[in-house]
Symmetry: C2
């Protein structure tokens, strides 16, 4: 046999993700997901507990990937400016390179049932806290001039999140170009006014 794929839970999640991304969780039916993997709706229940479980799996996966990328960026050493640059680049790279995940992860929070919702919110809070930590460290070291670090971290995260909504791989900008430009903007946003003038 030439390795008939065989329905894997991961394949179903992939299909669900794409559908959630472009129709929304509530507008996607189990029959839709089934059709996307060549099966009838009810057959999915051999591999998946529920539609809600699919959403939770997709969103947890997304947040774990983001946290991993952020940890890698933050853990590579260097001063606050360099670490911030790497964190912003990682953030943007993920949102440009995994638009569906990012989009669903940001739009469908309200459709998560407890306790999954709180779990995801806690992961998001941790993600923000880490970025803010670097900003505060840079402020204390005198390399950033920031009055409200929380407003700065929210701004930086939100501008990256927005990338998931408009970025197209076949558009005029490459992922790396956007990541670099956004990191630059973040740094300029935080840089202290130069001593002259």
């Amino acid at each position: 046999m030439i390795s008939e794929p065989g329905l894997e839970a991961a394949e179903i999640r992939r299909a669900a993700l794409r559908l959630f991304a472009d129709r929304g969780y509530r507008a996607t039916t189990m029959a839709d997901v089934g059709a996307a993997v060549g099966v009838r709706g009810p057959s999915l229940y051999r591999h998946v507990r529920s539609k809600q479980d699919l959403l939770v799996a997709v969103m947890v996966e997304t947040m774990e990937a983001l946290l991993d990328a952020q940890r890698a960026a933050a853990g590579a050493g260097g001063g606050p400016v360099l670490r911030l640059r790497r964190m912003v680049e990682a953030h943007v790279r993920y949102h440009a390179g995994h638009r569906d995940q990012a989009f669903v992860g940001n739009r469908e929070i309200g459709n998560l049932e407890q306790p999954a919702r709180d779990r995801i919110l806690a992961m998001r809070a941790a993600y923000e806290r880490t970025l803010r930590g670097v900003i505060e460290e840079g402020r204390d070291a005198g390399v950033f001039a920031v009055e409200h670090p929380r407003l700065a971290s929210y701004s930086i995260l939100d501008m990256g999140i927005g990338v998931a909504a408009w970025f197209r791989p076949d558009g005029p900008h490459s992922v790396e170009q956007v990541a670099y430009t956004y990191a630059d903007q973040a740094i300029r946003m935080l840089a202290p006014a130069p001593p002259d003038r």
Copy 2:
């Protein structure tokens, strides 16, 4: 009589907006909207053509308010830096002061049926184009250093949009404080490197 309110279409739209904002369009039932204005679901049809019409009305209203605010900010004269500041402040003020509208306006685009969807998208495109125009004008005048004006306008708009998701009137920041800070960040993001060094 002490002026029994009397059901107005505007009152229904207000209730629908709130429900759309915190449950989502698809998760909101006409019975929910009815309950919010003290009436059964079917009675709403005396005042409203359909649920979809409610969504369209809410979103068109939102985009018109944004475009009006932007026009006012841009039309008040001044150089590119000042006009940009006023436009960003107006953008943030709206997103902090009308969170429900902004939130629905950004999340429910996919639930708009044609031709309303294209109409809203055209309004959004015009809104972005105007902001980008000021950025390009500033670049041509030498007061902004921007390689990709489109990336800059997207960043600025998206960071403002994010405000609608986290801002709380009883939180630690006032609307004006956030608007001022965000405008500042936008300007610093675009400011050319100073001539020294």
